[in-house]
Structure formats: C-alpha cells, structure tokens
Subunit: 201 residues, 2 copies
C-alpha cells in the first residue's frame, strides 16, 4: 500500500496516522479467517451509548461466497465498482435507530456505528490491509436485496483487501491513489473553550 502518513503538528499513534482509504486491491489474495474475525472483533469493542452496540454488519467474502459478494457489489455506484471489483471483502455497516433494550429512538445509532467502522478500518490498517468506506451505494436496493429491517439505516459499504501497487489502477484512480492526503486546518474544526475560537488562538 502506498505509504501516506497523516501530516500532523504533533506525533500521533502510528496506526491512526497510517490509515487511509486506498483503492488498489490485490484481486487474487483472500482475507483469511483470522483477519476477518479481527476486523469484526475490533468493531465489536467500540464504545456505545448505554452500551447498546447499535451496529449490525453484513460481511461478504468473494473467496467464500462469490454469488453473495456479487449481489452486494451490484448495490454500489458505478464509479466505486471500477476499483471495488478487486476487493476480497465487502461489508455493510448498518445503524439501529432504536435502543435494543426498550425500542425508543437512539440518537447515537449512526454516531456509535461510525466508531465501530473506524475501529474496523484501523484494525485493517494495523494488519496491512486496505479498508475503504463508501457512501456511494444504493441504500434502498441494498435494503431490498438483503431484507434489512426498517429500524436499521444503511450507513456505509466497506471494501477490504490486501493492497496492490497503484499501477494496477487506471490513470484517474492512480492519480487519486498517489495524491497527498488533505484535511482542513486543525483550527477550522477544533475550538478552544467557545464556538469558533481556533485552538491555536
């Protein structure tokens, strides 16, 4: 995988710095059972409001059940299909909009599921795998195809696999793969003691 560590003003944890959303996957190499379970265990141990664990994930493994993987792949947008076609795993992250214990609305369903998915992506990075989350899929088609119950929101598809050289991508995707990673300046999103006051001030 192309090494593109985050550019930070102070050092941060290596795995957090090194995680990024690559698109070059090795089509031939499966993600093995231990790796697959490590991804799920990492997500499982995320924190959640009242310990509700509002996330549910579906995992599709093309090397284990290619027909089911194809059905998930068919729910992706065309642009994403260009590169996801080489990913060993697809996962769907869904968020319960109700609390498990009493059925009341859970305002943290998506928030907590985002934490679980981030744990999964960091675990992938720690194992030398690429994980790339996508909003570019058809949530209605996904719901129909996999009979996802109504209280659950389809939040993201996640492609996971072993990395391949950027050269395996077409020119447009290769350019994206090799481009520097960008973020807003820290002061745009982090405020000191009051809204809008930059932390450096």
């Amino acid at each position: 995988m192309t090494h593109k560590p985050a550019q930070t003003t102070v050092p941060i944890h290596e795995t957090i710095a090194n995680r990024w959303s690559g698109r070059a996957f090795d089509a031939a190499r499966p993600v093995n059972r231990e790796q697959k379970f490590a991804l799920m265990e990492a997500a499982r141990w995320a924190p959640s409001c009242f310990g509700d664990e509002p996330w549910r994930f579906i995992v599709w493994d093309r090397h284990h059940d290619g027909a089911a993987w194809d059905k998930a792949f068919d729910c992706l947008g065309e642009w994403n299909q260009q590169w996801v076609k080489n990913a060993a795993l697809l996962l769907l992250a869904t968020a319960d909009s109700r609390f498990r214990k009493n059925g009341k609305p859970n305002a943290w369903g998506a928030y907590d599921t985002g934490a679980a998915s981030e744990n999964l992506c960091l675990q992938a990075a720690a194992m030398g795998l690429v994980a790339h989350q996508m909003g570019g899929f058809d949530p209605d088609k996904t719901r129909r195809t996999f009979a996802i119950p109504e209280p659950f929101q389809c939040m993201a598809m996640i492609a996971v696999g072993h990395p391949a050289p950027a050269d395996t991508l077409n020119q447009e995707l290769k350019d994206a793969e090799l481009a520097p990673r960008m973020r807003q300046p820290l002061t745009a999103n982090f405020f000191a003691a009051e809204w809008g006051r930059p932390v450096d001030a």
Copy 2:
C-alpha cells in the same frame, strides 16, 4: 488505569483492545499541550463522506480556563458530574447535518463524527490517558451556553485525563470501574452474507 483488555476470539490491535471508558481521573494532573493537540490531530485525520469532515469539537481545559470548563461541566447530568469533576479536559463533539461545500443534508454527519471521536479516544488510550464519552448531558443547554449554530448536532461530551486508582471513586463507581467489560456475542451483530445469519454459521 485498570487494565481491562477486550476479550476477543482472535487477537486485535493492542490500542483498540485496551481502550475502555474509565471514570477514575487524577484531578491534579493536567493534559499537556502536546497531548491535547495529539487528541485533536487523531480526530482530524478520521475518514469522512466526500472528505467533508463534518465534525466540530470544542475543548475545555480546566487547568487553562477553569471558568469555561465549569460552564461545560454544568451542562452534564448529575450522575456524570460525580466523576467528571476530576477530569482535566472536557470536549464536545458536534456533527454538521449539512455538507460544507453545498449546504445539502449530510446523512453521514453523526456517523463520521463518531469515527473522529473514536480516533480521539484511541489516541488517548495510546498515550495512557482515560477518555470517556457521554450522552448524559443537556444538548439544549449546551447549545444555548456556547451559541452552537443550528445545523450542528451536539453528539457527545468527552472527559479526558490521567488515570487514578479505582479507590478514588465512591463504592458504586468503583464497582463499575472494576467490573468486567461486556459485549454482545460476535454472532449477534455480525452476519455472514445475509441479514441475521451469524458469522460462525
């Protein structure tokens, strides 16, 4: 900090396994500038839909601006105040419900903000700090007190500080601090190829 690594069926990344939401903080010890910026940088480099970075965080440091920290503390529920009183930092995680670039609704605002907060909590764990997210605060009072603009949702307060022995807590909180960490079985939330089919099946 009490060592309570996640119980997993396969090994996972040490920092992900070791992060948990403790309540025993050392009231005397500040979080230094480098640590504070590392927390923010970790959050800053989380992934987001269309790279929108929908999160905004306010950081209150009691050792730097005690009066502002007190105002944030006053927005917490009473039960949380029992133990947050010893935390060096409070942070508020807010999620933009609109895309920055075009003002359209962003369905991933909370999801992406959850990822940023999880990065922050993992960075805390990696530095030997305790970080504990809370839904138990008054979002309306918080919005009024800090003039938080309407498109932003107040998602979580996060207490951060250096750990203290569990003995520094009252009996009820000490019991919680020393209790085993619990999660649903993996098969309850992770499905193989179709909704509801446990991954082990």
